[in-house]
């Protein structure tokens, strides 16, 4: 069954350095299309750094340097000639803390479209509505689209950020602990949303919550000390981990 699924993006011997510190060691990891892959591991294991390499958000941190390759559509996106702006439009990201702009709900979702040159108002409006519906937020905000986004609750803000990311129709959605700042009910809504979204999108999610990884992902990769320890189907990894570190971690012995 797994061999029918296409790989959309994969890394080859990816290493990442912050100055002299090596944060990632030779990571090769493929990601299946329209599947959810969870990256787990203790704090500081490099899972977030790895995630941020996939759309080159690490470029924003000064002093970072990477080796190896991240192959997307047959191109190594770490190459200099890559236009990171279009790359990030196609590989979207949702962050740990909800970070809506201090603009209206509507303008937040429309932002990505506007900066990508879509000027036609009816297209933008349609896309905003569609994205908010996909993010299961439409019913809650449709009557106050032009109110400030910062007036929403934390869970709503995070779904707004997901809607904002969906509006530009990325092929891959990177999620960096998207529910860690939320209460259990909001977390549950985000998880349901992830399960719905995987019908259309490839989702790579970093989480420190193993139950969450088990609930939403098809594949799980375990990171430890900047290295990829083990990767496999979520079911297998949680029930029959191969490596000792994985077992220690998922049984709660450290982390």
């Amino acid at each position: 069954m797994t061999n029918e699924i296409e790989t959309i993006i994969h890394t080859q011997d990816l290493s990442l350095f912050y100055g002299d510190f090596q944060a990632l060691h030779d990571i090769s990891l493929p990601f299946a299309q329209r599947q959810v892959t969870a990256l787990i591991g203790p704090s500081g294991c490099g899972k977030s750094s790895f995630l941020r390499s996939l759309n080159r958000m690490n470029d924003l941190t000064s002093g970072t340097r990477s080796e190896g390759a991240v192959i997307f559509e047959g191109t190594n996106i770490l190459e200099k000639k890559i236009d990171v702006v279009s790359l990030r439009r196609r590989i979207g990201m949702v962050f740990q803390k909800p970070n809506p702009f201090p603009k209206s709900i509507y303008d937040n979702v429309a932002y990505g479209l506007v900066v990508n040159g879509i000027k036609n108002r009816s297209i933008v409006a349609a896309r905003v509505e569609k994205s908010l519906k996909q993010a299961a937020l439409w019913e809650e905000v449709k009557d106050r689209l032009h109110k400030p986004a910062l007036g929403l609750s934390g869970g709503q803000q995070q779904r707004l950020c997901i809607a904002r990311a969906l509006a530009v129709e990325p092929e891959i959605l990177l999620m960096d602990e998207p529910a860690s700042a939320l209460d259990p009910i909001a977390t549950q809504k985000i998880e349901e949303l992830i399960l719905e979204l995987k019908e259309r999108y490839t989702i790579i999610i970093v989480t420190h919550n193993m139950q969450q990884a088990a609930r939403v992902s098809n594949t799980t990769a375990f990171f430890y000390m900047g290295r990829l320890v083990e990767v496999g189907s979520t079911n297998a990894l949680f029930t029959k981990p191969v490596k000792k570190e994985t077992e220690d971690y998922i049984t709660g012995r450290f982390g």
Binding site: E4, G74, D83, V85
Partner: protein, 322 residues
């Protein structure tokens, strides 16, 4: 390049790779041309940023260009150390020692007032005042900074000087002492705000540790908080003095204007900025007097640069400590 409308799921047939999205999949990753726009934006911002350097350079250049010719008709030594400033006499005297001494004396005496007052106000605001009180007082201090210098000079002239004249029974209230008081109020806001920032940046843990050892709040302030903020306070004092020595309108209106080396607190003086401001209007264009005033400007500028360098080195130590 225009944005391609496409709907997920419909456009991509089952089993096909994501790679054939659109006609030339890779050109969206390399060919959008944002790089050029970004380069233009960054370069323009850089060029605009260089204006500050250019302006500072031009200021130096033109001061030197218009000031250095002075030394063709008077030696540097005679200019700096000459006691007599009679630029319009026949023959004229171009010695600015009295102006320099006027500037130094008024700066020092105003600092004697402004430093204790400014630092003590800062201590009150940061360490003692209830937060609500501080919230009201801080804007008042900022407002004091925003009062135009000509208004302070005018107030000194019409209100403070006559008062001084009556109290001390002196021939004129326009003198070194009155000018120092008025000048102090120009530098107090500078000294106060920067000192307060320095005091506030002292970690609360220091204060707690001191209090926990049985020190009184005052002992904590005098033995722990103020020493910890000392280089910041030093920076504040130097910048306040720099502001005082360069201040023009107050000394122009209140200092009395006599180009003599002051022998008493109640002597009238003529600091450098006052001399430049009052004489430039009448100095013949590019005549000796004109050049000598620019040379006075250079001297004044050197003083403020000296203060700036001192302040920068003090604040560097401050940052290392903090």
């Amino acid at each position: 390049m225009t944005y391609r409308e496409h709907t997920k799921g419909e456009m991509i047939p089952e089993g096909s790779s994501r790679g054939d999205r659109g006609a030339a999949p890779t050109d969206t990753l390399t060919g959008r041309g944002t790089a050029l726009g970004e380069w233009v934006a960054e370069s323009s911002l850089l060029i605009i940023s260089l204006i500050s350097i250019v302006v500072l350079g031009l200021i130096l250049l033109f001061l030197l260009m218009e000031g250095l010719p002075t030394f063709s008709f008077v030696s540097v030594k005679a200019f700096i150390l000459g006691h007599l400033w009679y630029p319009t006499d026949e023959p004229p005297d171009f010695g600015i020692l009295a102006l320099i001494m006027g500037s130094i004396s008024v700066t020092l005496i105003s600092s004697l007032i402004a430093v204790p007052s400014g630092v003590m106000t800062a201590i009150y605001l940061s360490e003692i005042a209830p937060p609500k009180m501080a919230e009201i007082l801080k804007p008042a201090i900022e407002l004091l900074a925003s009062l135009p210098s000509v208004v302070i000079g005018f107030f000194g002239m019409v209100a403070v000087a006559p008062l001084m004249q009556r109290i001390f029974d002196i021939p004129t209230g326009l003198n070194l002492f009155t000018a120092s008081i008025m000048l102090a109020f120009m530098s107090i806001p500078t000294i106060c705000t920067i000192s307060e920032d320095a005091l506030r940046s002292v970690p609360v843990t220091y204060r707690e540790a001191s209090m926990a050892l049985g020190a009184t709040p005052f002992e904590t302030i005098s033995k722990v908080t103020v020493p910890a903020a000392l280089s910041g306070i030093t920076t504040a004092i130097i910048l306040g003095m720099s502001r005082a020595i360069g201040e023009t309108m107050v000394v122009l209106m209140v200092a009395g204007g006599a180009a003599i080396i002051p022998g008493s607190l109640f002597d009238p003086i003529r600091p450098m900025p006052a001399s430049i401001a009052s004489e430039m209007g009448e100095a013949p264009f590019r005549g000796d007097h004109y050049h000598a005033l620019f040379a006075t400007g250079i001297t004044l500028f050197l003083f403020t640069i000296l203060f700036n360098i001192l302040a920068m080195s003090a604040s560097r130590r401050f940052r290392l400590k903090g």
